[in-house]
Amino acid sequence: MPVTDQAFVTLATNDVYCHGALVLGQSLRNYRTSRRLAILITPQVSRAMRAALRTIFDSVVDVKEIDSNDLMHLTLLKRLELGVTFTKLHCWTLTQYSKCVFMDADTLVLCNVDELFEREEFSAAPDPGWPDCFNSGVFVFQPSLKTFKHLLQFANEHGSFDGGDQGLLNSFFSSWATKDINKHLPFIYNLSSSTVYTYAPAFQHFGKDTKVIHFLGPAKPWNYKYNPQTRTVTQNDSTPVSENQLPFLELWWIIYRSSILPLLEKLQEPPIQQEEPNMNNDEQTSERENPLINNSLPASTNAECISESVVNPPCELSAKNNIAVKKAECSLEEDIVEPSKSFTEFSVQPVPQQTLVTNEFTSSVAEVAVQPEPKESSADERRKWEEGHIDYLGKDAFENIKKKLDAFLL
């Protein structure tokens, strides 16, 4: 029996994370959740992707950080580095639901987890790095504008000790570690894949009960290569993938290939495999062309059939509309001081996941702010490059770059 006032909520700040969110949503659907599925997205998400999200999620909520409310706006200006964090806090504004479970887009459920709704706010599983803190990848909460406001005020006054949402939430719900053991979710509800091998015997013993896997760390499932024939996952730089993590990655890819890929193809959003290319490109295409030459050498590539299979998405305008609105409202104009802060931060810090996301978020803000007269298609194409989606077999071929260079060399 569907429960309409409770929902699983996730978040995607760009098209790449949308792939993760789609797989998460599909995995929840596969295990027949009786709750609603909601996703928060930022304006960076392309129109085609929004369409894909709508087929899986019941509710796709566009989060515009600037016009949401005054307090938010002020806090954001003051603490620019917490940009993405604030996006996540928006889940408390989903007051159409009485209770929600938030799950990061890089998680994957392995069975039905509806029992999480029996828990109270604020329930979460311990963080593997510091078990007195919870990991904010999976948590149970109760949407409330009041809590939302308190959180913003708190952020305004104290900031976040790790620069991200996890630090903020841990400070805010500081009694979690000690007060009520019922608010401790078992670790199997948020098993970070990277910790699987630090306590191998425990994993051997309890691993089979895992309910939610969380792909923590810089390498996300969509960063790996997948060979559909052998159904194996490999890393880009040919280093072997940890054995314990492998089955989960394979599972992710199986869902991606069987459910998400056809969906995206239908909606003409270039899927990861063709955009995040690898050896299996060849195999994949040859599979389509002729199933008998599957084992052809990687060197015997056929450029033509690959270019056929890459779909060039049309330039979408919806994202642009948002940008235009934002531009008018925030009136940053040529002011490049704002983005500068975050870029300094970006180049000094190492590369924890949070900063990368922050950076990516601000870069798209900066893009709007700095570009004097953004040509719609050019800016869009540049965005594609910056996300690593390059049409190197088509319009971005080096021949075209060379022509531009030659114009200067005369």
Binding site: P277, V370, S378, G388, I390
Partner: protein, 732 residues
């Protein structure tokens, strides 16, 4: 690292003749690289060792540009005020606009000026610059690739600096910008896009794509012309980097690579044939004593032998005087570095030595750092046991000596039966019992973290080289860098190399290859391949490389199995050399040092600079290209006396040479003198670049004078009449 060499060879004739005829008073050279005062990889070595000769040529007008990194600056750079007023104004102007540009002396030999730019300080401009990059040439940079974003910052800052500098100069000098590798490449094509009056040179030390393709075990060289380069780069997610690299290559006035093999690679992967090949050199330090390197070999070998004694305790059934040490060293890239083919060849060599009942034992060292969990207990125990035996022997010796002395004092000859008492025997017996061992000596000196998946260990398991007593080839895998403080093998890399007999580097992908070059300078023979820059270079310059201890394996035009057979034959023939032959061979190897000295190789960089000036400023400079890019300069013929390698000896029996050894005529001085004469003076080997009217005259004079002083000698092996006749004489 300056490598020492002996004075056994005085400076080669012809070297000093060559002089740069370019008027450098009004020219300024900037050399731009990410590795300036920043050790990341091999390019650091190139730039650091080359600085001295460049400085000799350019003096105050030579500046290196690199990134400012706090840690490096603290240890390597002395910050000073720029003496050049235009540079000072440029730096001041940039610093007032929010940049952080530093000036100093890099504390290496020669102390060149460095300009270091803090890219973090201007990171706020990244997006503006990325927009400019996008608008001018449609190259976008993904936000997650930090290295590429750094390259953009560094590129824009260097272009800013060079543009500002050229504007600040009152008297417009001729500026040369020499950029190394793709990380500096952005600066190059920006200079061109902004039409700065700068002559540009771009040097690649390897191509981005080549490195990726080889790591992916593609049949690289056979498909070189067939790759769809855009697709390959895009598939590997390095398209934006590749675009930066190709844009730099496309825009530069002069394009150079470090070796012929990389030139071929660049031609196909970067779609431009290098204008000139600029090989990498070393700083060769000369010893004052003759044959000092032979003494050093003996010393270092003794230390390695000590280690081997401990390592093989309980199994020391082979004669250490007839033991030959091979080694392979480098980054742990199993097939790129050729460890695969080396192991296979060792297995075959083991079979050959056993079947032929050879007395020779081979110990092959693998020095390739991998992830380990410290030393292996068994190996440490080996050294402890050896130490204990040494102590026991010393204790007995002390007592023995004392008794002998006492007996002599009273005027008696010692009674040998009373010299050692029962206690001594017990002690010695106990020590011997401690050396008993039921397991084979270990292969690996450390506990490997990935023992079960390690490619070297797995191959050893497959081919069965377990250091058993029947094996003539023993293998020791040392998965850590060598250090003189190690409790196991307390030698540093240089000492270790000196103590070995042969370095084996059968790499598949090796744009240059400093390891065999270092061996050569230390007088240690080595095996390299015709796919390595070093191998190609040596092949061009020496008629019979193997006589000089430079064995060049053909991996380019042969199948893997054939290459392996060839490697086995190299190893086998090396094992059959007598001690004397090895010494002669080392002398010859060491004589090649001059070839690898920057004093000689630096000229290729000079050519590149001259060519760039002539291309960029055709009204002021002219340059006549060299007709032969290959085989310029030295050309060593076959050595005059008997070749040391039995593979080309006329004796059918391997033992034959041992008995006749003393008949071989070998005169080091005579041979060295021949080598010196056989080197073509550079003035003869190609047209010297023309520099205005004045320069041209000067250079032609130089060439005639050297012509007169040096007899023309044959350079190809086919017309070596005199050495051949001496061989025949000898046979009779």
């Amino acid at each position: 690292m300056p490598l020492a060499r002996s004075l056994s060879v005085t400076s080669l004739s012809g070297l000093e003749d060559w002089e740069d005829e370019l008027d450098l008073d009004n020219a300024i050279l900037f050399e731009v690289a990410w590795e300036v005062a920043n050790k990341v990889g091999g390019i650091f070595t190139v730039i650091q060792t080359k600085a001295k000769i460049t400085l000799d040529e350019w003096g105050e007008n030579y500046f290196l540009i690199g990134p400012y990194l706090e840690l490096n600056v603290r240890t390597q750079v002395e910050l000073i005020e720029p003496p050049n007023p235009a540079i000072r104004r440029t730096i001041d102007s940039m610093n007032t606009k929010g940049c952080k540009v530093y000036f100093g002396r890099w504390l290496i030999e020669g102390g060149p000026y460095v300009i270091l730019i803090d890219i973090g300080a201007t990171a706020w401009s990244l997006d503006r610059w990325k927009t400019e990059l996008w608008e001018s040439c449609s190259i976008g940079i993904p936000w997650y690739d930090r290295e590429a974003n750094d390259a953009v910052l560094f590129g824009f800052l260097t272009a800013w600096f060079l543009g500002e500098f050229s504007a600040q100069c009152e008297e417009k000098p001729f500026i040369i910008g020499h950029f190394h590798e793709w990380l500096a490449g952005v600066g190059l094509f920006l200079c061109r896009i902004r039409k700065l009056p700068i002559a540009t040179i771009f040097t690649t030390h390897a191509t981005l794509l080549g490195r990726y393709l080889c790591a992916g075990s593609v049949d690289f060289y056979n498909n070189l012309q067939n790759f769809n380069v855009d697709k390959e780069a895009g598939d590997r997610q390095i398209y934006h980097r590749y675009c930066m690299e190709r844009a730099a290559v496309h825009c530069t006035h002069v394009f150079t690579t470090v070796s012929q093999i990389t030139a071929v690679e660049a031609e196909h992967l970067l779609k431009r044939k290098p204008d000139i090949v600029t090989p990498n050199g070393l700083n060769v330090k000369k010893f004052s004593a003759m044959h000092e390197f032979q003494n050093l070999h003996a010393q270092s070998k003794a230390r390695i032998q000590e280690f081997v004694r401990g390592h093989f305790y309980g199994h020391l059934d082979f004669n250490l005087d007839k033991t030959i040490f091979f080694f392979i060293a480098g980054r742990y890239e199993y097939s790129n570095k050729g460890a695969d083919i080396f192991l296979e060849a060792l297995a075959r060599l083991n079979y050959l030595l056993r079947v032929n009942g050879s007395q020779i034992t081979v110990v092959a060292f693998f020095i390739m750092p991998a992830r380990t969990n410290n030393f292996n207990v068994e190996t440490l125990k080996g050294q402890a046991v050896r130490k204990q035996l040494w102590d026991t022997a010393n204790a007995v010796k002390e007592k023995f000596g004392k008794k002998l002395y006492e007996s002599l004092l009273v005027g008696n000859l010692p009674d040998m039966n009373k010299m050692l008492d029962k206690e001594d025997f017990t002690m010695m017996k106990r020590a011997i019992f401690a050396t008993q061992r039921h397991s084979f000596p270990p292969i690996c000196t450390h506990n490997m973290l990935d023992d079960s998946t390690d490619p070297i260990l797995n191959t050893i398991r497959r081919i069965g080289l377990f250091n058993s007593s029947a094996d003539r080839v023993k293998v020791i895998f040392h998965p850590e860098f060598l250090s003189s403080t190690s409790p196991l093998l307390p030698v540093d890399y240089e000492e270790f190399v000196r103590g070995c007999h042969l370095g084996v580097f059968p790499s598949y992908y090796e744009p240059w290859g400093y390891t065999p070059a270092e061996c050569t300078v230390m007088g240690i023979p080595s095996i390299s391949t015709n796919l390595s820059g070093f191998g190609c270079f040596m092949e061009e310059h020496i008629a019979d490389p193997s006589a000089y201890g430079i064995y060049i394996l053909d991996r380019r035009f042969r199948a893997l199995d054939e290459s392996c057979t060839q490697l086995t034959s190299f190893l086998y023939s090396f094992c059959q050399q007598s001690r004397r032959q090895r010494i002669i061979q080392r002398n010859r190897t060491e004589r090649l040092s001059d070839l690898l000295d920057w004093k000689y190789l630096g000229r290729y960089y000079m050519y590149a600079r001259h060519m760039a000036l002539a291309t960029a400023f055709p009204d002021n400079f002219t340059y006549e290209p060299h007709e032969t890019t290959a085989a310029q300069g030295f050309r060593y013929p076959r050595p005059a006396s008997v070749p040391p390698s039995p593979s080309i000896s006329r004796h059918s029996s391997p033992h034959h040479s041992e008995t006749e050894e003393d008949d071989e005529r070998y005169d080091e001085e005579e041979e060295a003198e021949k080598d010196r004469q056989n080197i073509k003076p550079p003035a003869m080997m190609g047209p010297v670049p023309e520099w205005r009217k004045r320069s041209k005259k000067g250079s032609s004079e130089a060439s005639t004078s050297s012509n007169a002083s040096t007899p023309t000698l044959p350079s190809s092996p086919s017309d070596l009449s005199s050495p051949t006749s001496s061989l025949i004489e000898e046979k009779n």
